[in-house]
């Protein structure tokens, strides 16, 4: 086992996951490719969404890949940081909205 869990060089090996389960792996990559094609959303908009989600799921491979992809697709730094804030707002909001659940329980348990 490597001394660190994450190695940037592993990003290039992502496609190798098909080796152990080709059918599912290939279906995944076909689907992945289809998702990122220009459609109702532009390729740049999809890259910005992917960048935001990368932060929400805290995937260093994805942050590496989609920072490069956003730059390559012409997104600017303001758009990219705003996308990260959208992810942060949803993550923070998702934590905070559970405060209502906590308040409900407090109500239930206290006089």
């Amino acid at each position: 086992m490597e001394k660190t869990y994450y190695d940037p060089a592993d990003l290039k090996k992502f496609g190798d996951i098909t080796q152990l389960q080709p059918e599912m792996g290939n279906k995944f990559f076909d689907y992945y490719g289809e998702v990122f094609k220009e459609g109702a959303l532009t390729a740049r908009e999809k890259a910005l969404i992917a960048l935001a989600v990368s932060h929400a799921v805290q995937c260093p491979y994805c942050i590496d890949a989609y920072t490069s992809d956003c730059l390559q697709k012409g997104a600017d730094e303001n758009q990219m940081m705003e996308a990260v804030h959208v992810a942060a707002a949803i993550k923070g909001g998702a934590a905070l909205v559970h405060g209502v659940q906590m308040m409900n329980k407090i109500k239930e348990l206290t006089m």
Binding site: E38, T42, A43, R44, S68, L71, Q72, K73, G74, D76, E77
Partner: protein
Amino acid sequence: MALSATSLHRQKHELSEPAYQLTVLQQGAQFPEFAAQLQQHDLYPLKPTGATILQVNVGKMCNQTCRHCHVDAGPDRKEIMTRETMQLCLDALVDSPDITTIDLTGGAPEMNPDFRWFVEELSKLGKQVIVRCNLTIILANKKYHDLPLFFKEHKVQVVSSLPYFAASRTDAQRGDGVFDKSIKALQLLNEVGYGKTGSGLQLDLVYNPSGAFLPAAQQALEAEFKRRLKTGFDIDFNNLFCITNLPISRYLDYLVQSGNYESYMEKLVDAFNPAAAASVMCRNTISVGWDGYLYDCDFNQMLELHVSPTAPQHIRDFNLAALNKRNIILNQHCYGCTAGAGSSCGGQTVP
């Protein structure tokens, strides 16, 4: 990294030497030879399809010192084309009706004292003239303020670099304050009709990535540039050309200094596109250096890779038929023109 105000040449930097640049390009042993890639796709030796464009580099003198400049141009460069060499170009063109377009580049071509004379003489020959104008030259000195009218008078196609629609990335590549001056210059070009529908005056912009990444798809980025420049600055233009930065000269220095050289080469090699390889600009262009020597492209010129020894070497011996039979000289930097949708001085080469 701060942007240097002096050329690599002035700094006596080792990367100012073409031979050293070629050594660096050959060091990436893990990257397949470019020529071998072409061989796999039946494109080797690479032959011209027939030259229709003569790209003339009238000198390395420039008012800017851009971070990515493959010419290593700047205010401290004194190499410029003489009127005698320009006359040799004109003599060559008289006998070459197949060459319909003359693409003037530099440095800042307008800084050559014989620039206007050359454009006037080229116009008399009925050639389409392209000037690669860096925009800021128009504001650099009072003697350049009338350039938009001069361009208009000779129906020059103006092609200008604007790497981004915001100051941050433009100034990081081209120097502090360049974005604001470029915007002002574009507005002046618009004022005389450039980029306006129906004017017949063509104004194209060039996008070069400000960093170690490849350019976006041209059509999508052009739409974004048009929207941003119109809403932000009321600027109109015709086309956006997306050009990949080639790993030579100051851009190579940037890649090496920033630790991006290997990963950038890897991106270029991984993105090799045979369709782009078949459409490279060296197949329809001949490049002339400031001293009259002939090259397959402006990049080979800066690496001092002259045209094949089987072809005429200097503009005084220009022979289009012989040049059209030559083998094009290749090296590892050529991967820059064949990545993704391809890259040329006219932007991407495949849809």
